[in-house]
Symmetry: C2
Subunit: 458 residues, 2 copies
Amino acid sequence: MAGFPLLPHQQIGVDEQSRAIQNRDLQLAVSNRKIASMIIELVNTGSELMLGRVLNTHQQWLCRQLADLGYLVSRQVAVPDTGTDITAAVGEALARADLVITTGGLGPTSDDLTRDLIAAMFGKTLREDAEILAHITEFFESRQRRMPERTRVQALVPEGALVLPNPHGTAPGLAMEVRPNPFRASKASWLVMLPGPPRELRPMFKDAVVPLLRRVLSLPAAFVCRTLRATGIGESVVEERVSAPLQPLVQLGLELGYCARPAQVDVRLAARTADAEALVNRAEAIVRERLGDFLYSHGEEEIEATIVRRLNTLNQTLSLAESCTGGCLAHRVTNVPGASAVLLAGLVTYSNAAKGKFLGVRATSLDAHGAVSEPVAREMAEGACRETGADYALAVTGIAGPSGGTETKPVGTVFIALAGPFSTIVERKFNPFDRETFKQVTAQQAFDLLRRKLPAPR
Amino acid sequence: MAGFPLLPHQQIGVDEQSRAIQNRDLQLAVSNRKIASMIIELVNTGSELMLGRVLNTHQQWLCRQLADLGYLVSRQVAVPDTGTDITAAVGEALARADLVITTGGLGPTSDDLTRDLIAAMFGKTLREDAEILAHITEFFESRQRRMPERTRVQALVPEGALVLPNPHGTAPGLAMEVRPNPFRASKASWLVMLPGPPRELRPMFKDAVVPLLRRVLSLPAAFVCRTLRATGIGESVVEERVSAPLQPLVQLGLELGYCARPAQVDVRLAARTADAEALVNRAEAIVRERLGDFLYSHGEEEIEATIVRRLNTLNQTLSLAESCTGGCLAHRVTNVPGASAVLLAGLVTYSNAAKGKFLGVRATSLDAHGAVSEPVAREMAEGACRETGADYALAVTGIAGPSGGTETKPVGTVFIALAGPFSTIVERKFNPFDRETFKQVTAQQAFDLLRRKLPAPR
């Protein structure tokens, strides 16, 4: 269930975190005002974003978290680290939104301006928070590093703001109710300021911002959101199969969405009705019935995680023999914690000599059929099983391009073989994509071949 | 020089493309007005962005392209695919900017609204363009697919707009001078509308938008931008070493920037003065003198590409023996076109048995020192050289975590070995990061170890 940590039925520990926030000695009186339909905007600050040196992943991550809570962000804005740009963007967002989330600009360097600008915008004084200062001091001491004097500014808190603790860094987050809101005469708004580094922002959002939102804003009580992942089937075919049968449930309030990626389609089912759970359950049953074995996981598990999980349960092992994917399968499998109990070896046999030496592929097969061929894929997979003693082996040989194609085997041609306790299976695929997409799509197809042959769970 | 295709001295073929645009039978009279200091804003449309299902890579890509041309984007906005949101965002951008670039909303489906909305905003009628329609028809015919009737809307062009051809898809881009600009009484602006899919947007930007901008807006004549990449040194140390000696050149107009990534620091040198080339050359000489061997490449080449390129020149080969990095090194090396001439094999020996069988690591070494140890790393590298006949072999063994650490070898401990025509080198590193960052940082360190030992180029 990685990626869905905020589903309502999974809110374990939230009360504890919420209490931790309430217990902080702060002057803020949190009002219990609830906003029926919340307008949310994001403001990311950072001159490096404007130079295109850094990919902004905050927008997607925050939108995804909020969507899984039942909210749609209505605008994302990114501006450089200058006072006028940040002030203008935050003011415009506060004129429209009930909740404005900013990222960045809370650090210790001279281009970190958010804290000072926000205090100035609302005429708040900054006071040094002893608890934050102690945290920062401790942070440096525990790492046996000198605390630069400039770091101290991170302990400054605008009067009336709530502090969001940062266990992974020195700059705390800040939250304040903007009331009165000078940009939106009749309505108050919440302003939440988060630090820029993802490893600090993400846990802070989950551990401090979500409990805060639950307390001060109206998170829908019954919001349920579930994603089913399919592979080996195109987006339009998925839509064709499930759209009509789901239509009656859409009438009842089901929110339905599709998202296509290379060799993967996500079907998102959500509801915020009183019977949300039952509605999503009914929708899931229909999607399962219509897509059957094309669905590989419940939740947003990657297919390599599905495989590692199921092989672990079965107490069985896997080896990999790769040519054109060049280690992509091994890299993906070993990204999954627990892979070491499952994966015995990955043999990236790029040269023909390596195919012979490590996998026992016969020179006669290479000569007669070429390295990209059904017999060689078969011998690679069977050799990987034999040489490593694994229960299953996947083998891949193909032409990733950009060069190397022929008339009968154009760039994109690939043979995928699976050896195991059954006759070896070899599939021929055609993936005429750029080099990296080729590797990822081929890996997905190989993992899916194995998934379909593993004994069913339970 | 991948990633820097738009440097002025590399503008090969731009005139041809520019002429192709001028030759199109369009009513637009392009004015030769030049804007001295251009304000640029991006507006991305897409409800999927707001749900966090898709990572927005357009902003970074476009900002990077524009920065390499000498321009800084001053605001990025993303809004859902609704008429009011798009109209508001475009109108607000036009009130501030000389150039507004939109992405998305030009396709054939019912949520593709940009074309209609822009025409309505400026009271332009839409006319069907015969040339575009022929392109769309041909696009489907050449793929032997039926052309859905709805696709035809993509041939509609707002009166007075310039068409930007789309060789990679059916929806052309559009460009129009907004004059008079109702949102900014005294100044005209340019509005450029690009399709959403990156494989369509990117070539269109390079082949059609850049020539257009050169023609109608004031791209700086002498803008030069160069990036030097360092590894094995922290950002603050880089800054400490080069900042003061570069200060006199900054006074003369040098633009200096740093960007830190895991185990890598980019130093960006740019200038737009009359002597830009000479200024950047002087700056580069200083940075090279100060950072020396920490710099691994000129231009934005990844370090694995540096290695493949240099091994190819040397006509030498490489093998890899990986434990904790699980194929990450092999995956990165094989992402580089031309890797097949260099990489003989990558052996992902996750289990101890595989280390023994494929690399000849002795059971006594594993028993006495453990798999994560200096002797085992050494035997892995030497075994990979011996077993594959490669000139060089890199080996990696460590503890990626999240579990498996001990008192003396905590999670993050890693041994990197390099075997070759010299005594095998083993380095111990400590990379206490999450699993994926651990793999990437370790790979970077391993590649750098090899790079430093390769005979110097030329």
